[in-house]
């Protein structure tokens, strides 16, 4: 049995009350007590913050994929739309969403939830799936004068009662609450099951130490032994009579005991009760209103109390009685509704309407040792009769029984004749399969099942169909009358004559008769470009001959189904669009084998009905229902469209890898990170291996706007393609898609990330380094703050891919240090190989002759090369000072900095710019192309990698490509990248350290003993892109 459990009650205000606890414990019980049944937990995406919290609650109790989220249309008070209508529209969407999960049973844990965005309903559009509802009580309905005196609220509550009546099963939490349904709403007795209740296992008998006792009592101003009562909203809690009864107690009892009323009391209620206390001359320290008491303290108070009194006139169950009994406390309770079931001892019951009786039983409870012993014994015996295991097993059993007794619903075809419209174009005179002759046969056969109307613009070519009794009509007529047809069928072939049919089909979807696999000729060339992009992504657009790629996806996704007589078309459809398409594709192979029109008609009838029943997109039914109930209007249609789109993913579809490239879309500054971004994009967008099962979609966000856009304009420009749309569209994302933050940008999208995660999108991020966290002194304050926000948003992600093992280790340590190891969720940390290809096609930044002169000047002595932006972390100043020492000692060496001016301190920059050896032995090239950089690498003697911290160390890899020896700082990432291929110097800030290292290196070189970088392993961007891709699509595999 597959059961969808609506656990929205955990997300609303009810989640913090008894209903929330009931739901949580019941669901845990259901998950624990069956292995053959499958449970799907349904959450409401409106309460976005609660979704990850609730998923944590069920961590390791259920497969994460079995917790699903639906998204109602947004309701805002600005909407002019009537909220009851909005609620009904939302109910339609929710019920269809649940139906799309294909459950055998639906269990609604709370039907009465007052919050506007809490959507609850039962069988509002269909009763195909049996539904059970948990009934806690009908107190508001029974005491309407008190609880439903507001007409709006009454209307709302009555609508819920109507839903309750439609439920196939009613699970009452006590026998008493079940009887209420039978008595007050005429609910059939045979559908009511008392599944009872239990409480949290936290409530148990404790040995409370004297210190804890004193501490807890003093917290709530309890200075004497105390009697307690759990209060609550409403007169039915009968607190007033309890207070009066207390006033009637003998003086010695009032003087020796306090009454603690545990209740999150409002100031208004407090005033009201104060008046009563005064009226009955009760001193302030005799009755204590504790206010809200957390569960931990409540447990202690239950263990300490002399007596729990439950004076309620009406309860659905009476949790406090059971909680106190589990803690070993003596309990006396009202003899009303469910309380006798819970307490289970006649002597412990009293008439709650009589203050005398209440006073009498309190006196007995605190003074009569024998009576107290009886109550304590009863508590022990009675409290073990309730268990979540028993409750959940009763619920499972009732649902299974209900299923067995329900008529098995097979494909039952409608008994009344349905109206079918068949849309044709002139081209069908010569269609390969569904030409007029074959169509005639099929239609004659179908005539036994449907009232058929043939729709075409040119009526003359089908006039002969009129002789067979078929109605003929034009498309304009159809556009205004299509809703009178239960079945709509389009005959589409690969000719431009069908362009208008496709346009109608896109507005009014139906079943398609497939004449040829390709339908590219149905589109204009502009439309083909768009379709190629939608079908095959950018990879499709870069193919030289667009006609070789099919453009069927939009039609497949929009269609109710497809029918053909050529089995090869199904094979081709599966090849291009995956196995999923099989559900929508019916192949009728025997239609041509001289079958009688009756048998042909029967085959087609079964195919059409099967498609309408099983593969019709759910949103079409919703739109039809909303339209019929006149629930769509200008106030809500945008939000309904968004909700339908979010809840019902198109199929077939390739899952998307949404690649965040926001920074590079804003400005391409050719930074190291942006070189990585472009190199990966270049591989992923252009090669078939990445595009066969996935859809690569670069996306970007903009400041002050939550959400992302497809970077269509940027990517078409990047790939040299004509533009597709005039504007970039916001992204769509559904379960199974992957979001990858490839670029490093600081626009805060944390709310949107949560939204994506709740939709089932997997979130991954590249981490280039975490240096702003580990060595913040090297970064501007604003960078550090932005980075902290960025990394905090990352903690929500499913995984991170670091650009080196060292960064992965460092990030892991950082997570551990920040106590995130204890959290139930933390991102998976992996690393991937970074590529390094120098682009040799770049242009010289200087005229050729000047470049040559410059190079000849630089290479007059052995060149020590430093390649990086000038910023404090890169240690340029330490290197230059080291060379000052060397030049002072008479060494004939040249130093060359290649890199842009970053955010180096004023003094350091000025020292570099005004250095006496600048352009003599010391050179700073702040703008070079890759080509010139290649030349410099070739002529240099040694690369100095002096940076205090790096994520990877790209210059080391680049230097190794030119077999350039390397002198590097001894930090983990350089050791990881360069291994034994470099000479290392200590990680300190003394110029002498680097000067000594250069001297040593020169000595080693003189005897040809310096470490060589020839054997360094490095990846190409092709390898890097594959490595990252494989990890993104299945990070747990690696």
């Amino acid at each position: 049995m597959r059961v969808v459990i609506d656990i929205q009650s955990l997300q609303t205000d009810a989640g913090h009350r008894g209903i929330g606890r009931y739901t949580l414990n019941l669901v845990c019980g259901l998950l624990k007590n069956t292995i053959e049944d499958q449970f799907i937990l349904l959450l409401n995406g409106f309460y976005k913050d609660s979704v990850p919290e609730i998923k944590k609650l069920f961590h390791q109790k259920i497969n994460p994929q079995d917790i699903v989220t639906w998204f109602p249309p947004n309701y805002s008070s600005n909407h002019t739309f009537d909220k009851h209508k909005w609620h009904t529209a939302s109910s339609f969407i929710k019920e269809k969403f649940i139906a799309s999960l294909k459950p055998d049973f639906i269990l609604v844990t709370s039907l009465f939830d007052e919050q506007i965005n809490a959507i609850t309903s039962v069988n509002s559009i269909s009763d195909d799936i049996p539904t059970a509802v948990i009934l806690y009580d009908l107190i508001p309905y029974i005491y309407q004068d008190i609880f439903l005196n507001n007409p709006d609220k009454k209307k709302w509550y009555e609508s819920k009662i109507e839903y309750l009546k439609k439920a196939d099963l009613l699970f009452s939490i006590s026998n008493s609450s079940g009887q209420e349904a039978i008595k007050y709403i005429d609910y059939p007795q045979y559908k009511v099951f008392n599944i009872s209740s239990d409480i949290s296992s936290d409530f148990k008998k404790l040995n409370v130490s004297k210190a804890l006792e004193d501490k807890t009592k003093s917290k709530y101003n309890l200075v004497k032994p105390f009697i307690m009562c759990i209060g609550g909203l409403g007169e039915h809690k009968n607190i007033e009579r309890l207070i009066i009864a207390f006033s009637q107690l003998p003086l010695e009892i009032k003087g020796n005991y306090q009454l603690a009323i545990i209740y999150k009391i409002t100031s208004h209620e407090f005033e009201y009760f104060n008046k009563i206390l005064k009226r009955y001359h009760i001193k302030k320290d005799e009755i204590i209103f504790t206010g809200f008491v957390p569960d931990d303290d409540l447990l202690i108070l239950y263990n300490l109390t002399l007596l729990l009194v439950v004076p309620s006139l009406h309860e659905g169950f009476g949790l406090s009685a059971l909680e106190a009994m589990r803690c070993g406390a003596p309990v006396v309770a009202s003899n009303c509704t469910s309380l006798p079931e819970v307490v289970g001892l006649k002597d412990a019951l009293f008439d709650p309407y009589s203050t005398d009786e209440i006073a009498k039983i309190i006196v007995k409870g605190v003074t009569d040792g024998g009576f107290r012993a009886l109550l304590i014994d009863n508590a022990k015996i009675q409290s073990i009769k309730f268990s979540w295991d028993a409750t959940s097993l009763l619920a499972i059993g009732a649902m299974k029984n209900c299923l067995q007794n329900k008529d098995v619903k097979s494909i039952s075809y409608q008994s009344k004749r349905l109206k079918l419209a068949l849309l044709l174009s002139l081209s069908h005179l010569n269609s390969s399969i569904y030409n007029l002759s074959n169509l005639k046969n099929i239609l004659i056969g179908l005539n036994s099942y449907y009232d058929i109307t043939i729709i075409a613009d040119e009526i003359s070519f089908i006039s002969e169909f009129a002789d067979y009794g078929f109605e003929l009509n034009r498309t304009n007529w159809f556009l205004s009358n299509f809703n009178s047809f239960e079945r709509i069928v389009y005959n589409i072939d690969n000719t431009f004559e069908c362009n208008f049919l496709i346009k109608i089909f896109n507005k009014i979807p139906g079943v398609i008769l497939v004449n040829s696999f390709e339908i590219n000729n149905c589109y204009t060339s502009d439309e083909v470009t768009k379709e190629i992009y939608l079908n095959h992504g950018y990879y499709g657009l870069i193919q030289k001959d667009l006609q070789i790629l099919p453009c069927n996806l939009s039609v497949y996704q929009a269609s109710i189904g497809l029918i053909t007589e050529n089995p090869e078309y199904l094979l081709l459809a599966k090849k291009w669009y995956g196995e999923q398409i099989q559900e929508k594709f019916k192949v009728i192979t025997n239609a041509k084998n001289n079958l009688s029109p009756e048998l042909v008609g029967q085959n087609y009838f079964k195919a059409i009905e099967g498609l309408y029943k099983f593969s019709k997109p759910a949103y079409l039914d919703i739109i039809n229902n909303l339209s019929s109930a006149q629930l769509i209007d200008i106030g809500n249609h945008l939000e309904i469209a968004k909700s339908l789109n979010t809840n019902f993913a198109p199929y077939p579809r390739k899952k998307q890898i949404l690649v965040d490239i926001s920074e590079i879309v804003k400005i391409d500054a050719n930074t190291g990170i942006q070189r990585v971004v472009k190199s990966i994009l270049n591989e992923w967008l252009k090669k078939p291996v990445y595009n066969s099962d996935w859809r690569i979609e670069p996306i970007y966000c903009v400041s002050n706007n939550s959400g992302y856009f497809y970077a269509t304009k940027y990517v078409t420009n990047f790939l040299g393609l004509p533009s597709i749309w005039s504007d970039d569209y916001p992204i769509d994302a559904w379960e199974g898609d992957v979001f990858l933050r490839l670029d490093l940008g600081f626009i805060d999208q944390s709310t949107y990330f949560l939204n994506l995660k709740n939709r089932g999108v997997l979130l991954y991020s590249i981490i280039y380094d975490i240096l702003p966290l580990t060595i913040p002194s090297f970064f501007p304050k604003v960078t550090e703050l932005n980075f902290k926000k960025w990394i905090n948003a990352t903690l929500l992600f499913d995984g991170v891919f670091c650009i080196s093992r060292s960064v992965a280790i460092e990030f892991d340590h950082w997570l551990a240090k920040n106590d995130l190891n204890k959290s139930k969720h933390r991102p998976v940390v992996k690393w991937f190989q970074l590529g390094a290809d120098l682009n040799m096609n770049g242009q010289f930044s200087l005229p050729l002759i000047e470049s040559l002169l410059l190079i000849s000047k630089i290479k007059s002595n052995p060149i020590f090369l430093v390649v990086s932006t000038l910023e404090p972390r890169k240690a340029h100043f330490q290197v230059l000072k080291a060379f000052d020492i060397l030049w002072g000692k008479g060494f004939k060496v040249n130093l060359c900095f290649v890199g842009k001016e970053g955010w180096l301190g004023k003094n350091e920059l000025s020292y570099i710019k005004r250095h006496s050896k600048l352009n003599n032995n010391f050179f700073w090239l702040n703008k070079v192309t890759d080509h010139l950089l290649s030349e410099i690498y070739m002529y240099s003697a040694c690369l100095i990698a002096a940076s205090y911290g790096e994520g990877f160390g790209l210059p080391i890899v680049e230097a190794a490509k030119y077999k350039l020896p390397i002198l590097a700082r001894n930090i983990p990432v350089f050791k990881e990248v360069a291994g034994t291929g470099a000479l290392y110097f200590d990680d300190d800030r003394k110029p002498e350290t680097i000067a000594d290292a250069v001297e040593l290196w020169l000595r080693l070189r003189s005897t040809n003993e310096q470490p060589i970088s020839d054997n360094l392993n490095f990846s190409t961007w092709e390898q890097s892109a594959i490595d990252l891709f494989m990890k993104v699509i299945d990070p747990n595999k690696f």
């Binding site: 556009l479 205004s480 009358n481 299509f482 809703n483 009178s484 896109n506 507005k507 009014i508 979807p509 939608l534 929009a558 949103y619 079409l620 739109i623 039809n624 909303l626 339209s627 019929s628 006149q630 769509i632 249609h637 945008l638 309904i640 469209a641 968004k642 339908l644 789109n645 198109p650 400005i667 706007n705 856009f709 504007d727 569209y729 916001p730 992204i731 769509d732």
Partner: protein, 93 residues
């Protein structure tokens, strides 16, 4: 063509220069209507100066790129809306 309309969304010098050459390079151009979209003030002043120098008449308007200019619906939500519109227009059964 004697009148041409440009939309200028530009932050970077390279683009600015390119746009100026487009405008000034059109010998037949007598009038330009330019809508600036979040454009830097310095560029506007520079462009006015250049246009004045070569004797091209001009008319400017300011457009601030706001959320209104950004499509609010995704491609598929637009599709849903289209279907809803089709169903809404027809007579209810």
């Amino acid at each position: 063509m004697s009148k041409i309309k440009f939309f200028v969304l530009s932050f970077f010098k390279k683009n600015i220069t390119r746009i100026i050459y487009y405008i000034l390079g059109s010998k037949f151009l007598k009038w330009v209507v330019i809508s600036f979209i979040n454009t830097m003030p310095s560029f506007k002043i520079f462009l006015i100066y250049k246009l004045d120098q070569v004797g091209i008449n001009f008319q400017f308007s300011e457009v601030q790129m706001s959320k209104d200019l950004v499509p609010k619906l995704t491609i598929r939500s637009e599709y849903m809306l289209n279907i809803m519109d089709s169903y809404k227009k027809v007579t209810i059964k």
